[in-house]
């Protein structure tokens, strides 16, 4: 597993843009409302029985598209990939 994201459920407004743009389909909509009354996004990991199967690459496309800055993205530390992230 190369990458991981953390979604701030209370910031999330369930717009679904991260889900659309995740190349690895690692994000879904969870089924309980948050305090604001939205159904927030959830990272596959949380559902995946076997973490090894999670394919998040840490590409940060989700974060790039998230209007509400509700996503933090983590990636295995490789300098070149890190640089890429910086450009992102």
């Amino acid at each position: 597993m190369k990458g991981r994201i953390v979604i701030d459920k209370e910031r999330c407004k369930g717009c679904g843009l991260c889900i659309i743009f995740c190349p690895k389909k690692q994000i879904t909509i969870s089924d309980e409302l948050n305090k604001k009354g939205y159904y927030p996004a959830a990272f596959a990991e949380e559902s995946a029985e076997n973490p090894e199967m999670v394919e998040c690459t840490g590409c940060a496309l989700c974060g790039t598209m998230c209007p509400d800055v509700a996503i933090e993205v983590y990636r295995q530390d490789k300098s070149e990939s890190k640089d890429k992230a910086e450009e992102d």
């Binding site: 990458g3 991981r4 209370e10 910031r11 407004k13 369930g14 717009c15 679904g16 843009l17 659309i20 743009f21 939205y38 840490g58 940060a60 496309l61 974060g63 790039t64 598209m65 998230c66 209007p67 509400d68 800055v69 996503i71 933090e72 993205v73 983590y74 990636r75 295995q76 530390d77 990939s81 890190k82 992230a85 910086e86 450009e87 992102d88």
Partner: protein
């Protein structure tokens, strides 16, 4: 693992009040990232006029001055003339910059005021509940163009950015869209360049950003993005309109 993406410093923690999928939110983040990367947070003054983004001052952690609707360019001119070594940007909607603020915008650009305008084009008056904007697309239904905009009656969309391209004092004008990771990145690059033009004291710079307004378009966030790409960009092509930097 290493954190590779998170909230920029120039953004306060306050959650946005914007609707789900609103382009303003993405654009706020991009402006904040650019301010971070240029290291100008404590040297910048932002000027948001009335519009859905009038509360921008609750989000940007820089000095912020609210402007009357349409007058951001004039207010920014006053600030910049007094503090020429500060960075001054306006954050204006289409109604603000292309309708009520037409004169102030064109003349600020023509005088070559060293300010940067972030022009959020969502083809509608968002804050007031979805009336026709100067940028509303022919046929687009709004609360004041019930049957859809009829050019013969309501006129066609106004190409403000192209007009500003004719202004002697404008240095850099680009139109982008925040409807895909690529578009977002391109928008960020454009914003960075626009601020740089000001840092180099060259003149007026502006980035027009096509931005979804799901609420007033009565579309889902996903549909909104598609509508921008398939309809809006036909009339407002994404491109560099002027670059004499």
């Amino acid at each position: 693992m290493k954190k590779v993406f998170s909230r920029p410093k120039s953004l306060k923690e306050t959650p946005f009040h914007y609707c789900p999928g609103c382009g303003h939110s993405i654009i706020h983040r991009l402006v904040a990232e650019v301010i971070d990367e240029l290291g100008i947070r404590d040297n910048t003054i932002g000027v948001p006029p009335a519009g859905c983004a009038v509360l921008a001052y609750n989000y940007f952690d820089v000095d912020m001055a609210e402007a009357p609707h349409g007058r951001a360019a004039a207010v920014a001119t006053g600030i910049k003339r007094v503090l020429p070594d500060r960075i001054v940007f306006t954050y204006q909607g289409d109604g603000d910059i292309a309708a009520i603020g037409t004169a102030e915008t064109i003349h600020a650009a023509n005088r070559g005021e060293r300010i940067t305008a972030v022009f959020v084009n969502n083809a509608v008056y968002g804050m007031t509940g979805g009336q026709m904007a100067p940028t509303t697309i022919p046929g687009q239904v709004t609360t004041t163009s019930p049957g859809g905009r009829i050019p013969l009656r309501d006129g066609n969309p106004l190409d403000l950015s192209e007009m500003l391209g004719l202004a002697a004092g404008s240095i850099y004008i680009e139109r982008t869209a925040v409807t895909s990771p690529k578009g977002v990145m391109r928008t960020k690059k454009a914003l960075k360049k626009a601020f740089t033009v000001q840092l180099e004291d060259k003149g007026y710079s502006m980035v027009e950003i096509l931005s979804p307004c799901p609420t007033n378009w009565k579309l889902s966030p996903a549909e909104s993005i598609r509508w921008v790409d398939e309809v809006m960009t036909k009339i407002f092509p994404v491109k560099v309109i002027k670059d004499v930097a």
